[in-house]
């Protein structure tokens, strides 16, 4: 179990490597990028984008995204926050999901 935590910590600390990849994913552009690519912003796209205001948009801390160091800190924080929320969700789910253990012993 201890090994698992060490591996998890290493993976989390390495996440900023993902920032090094240039460009955004195909089909995940922002409104501005779309505009420069096709010359207009599709009306439905404009209407439905930003349906949700993210806490840490694009895994970064708002206005703390000026350089690689800041982005890296945002990325690592995002990984920690994301994993934390997932643990909370599953803690709540575990109250309802799964059978109680068979009465062994």
């Amino acid at each position: 179990m201890k090994k698992l935590f060490i591996i998890a910590a290493i993976i989390i600390l390495l996440t900023p490597i993902g920032l090094l990849a240039p460009g955004s994913a195909w089909g995940e552009w922002g409104i501005d990028e779309i505009k420069s690519m096709v010359g207009y912003v599709p009306s439905g796209m404009k209407h439905f984008s930003d349906t949700v205001k993210a806490l840490l948009p694009d895994y970064s801390i708002p206005s703390f995204d000026k350089n690689f160091l800041q982005l890296s800190i945002g990325y690592i924080l995002s990984a920690v926050v994301g994993i934390g929320i997932i643990m909370v969700v599953f803690f709540v789910l575990s109250k309802t999901m799964g059978k109680s253990e068979e009465k062994n012993e």
């Binding site: 390495l14 490597i17 195909w26 089909g27 984008s49 994301g82 799964g98 253990e101």
Partner: protein, 230 residues
Amino acid sequence: MHIPDGYLSPETCAVMGTAMVPVLAVATKKVNETFDKKDIPIMAIGSAFAFTIMMFNVPVPGGTTAHAVGATLLAIALGPWGASISLTIALLIQSLFFGDGGILALGANSFNMAFLAPFVGYGIYVLSQKLKINKVISSAVGAYIGINAAALAAAIELGLQPILFHAADGRALYFPYGLNQSIPAMMLAHLTVAGLVEAGITGLVVYYLMRVGEDNLLYRLSYRLRGEAK
């Protein structure tokens, strides 16, 4: 592969969301029947793993990026139904808190990455095992095909938008590129790079766990899920 909001029409989002309802309903039933309460934390670890692995963007030809999902690895460890729930929750958290993938598009994203990817990957894995191919190769091949199935589905969902939904002047209302552009772009990214990353990670984890004699960790749940003794 996380489709943002505004890219798919509300109709498409509704169809994809509706498609995920029975999947999650059956998944919940299967998990409730097969898993003990003490197994649920393993689903949480799987979900956290997938969440983190998706943050590792890799550069792909054409100057864009892609990422692994971990879907087949989760399906091998948790069974495809358990993986489906774990991946859906990872995608939900990504969309709600990090703006990665839309909330309206959650049905589509879940369908691709939390249903197609683990089920196709797992299907290939089980089939390869029946053909007596070793576990590492089976899992890697399953992972490669699983993530590519998801990428193809995402490409089709996106590429259908300008055909189905456009204004009177021909301008797209949502995603502007058709199938002739979305399919080659997505498949190039995933067949060449992201698929190999997914296969590599999956194969390595399976290899490592077998090597250290911990493969029971990987198969404990899925054996039970398939009704095999061990």
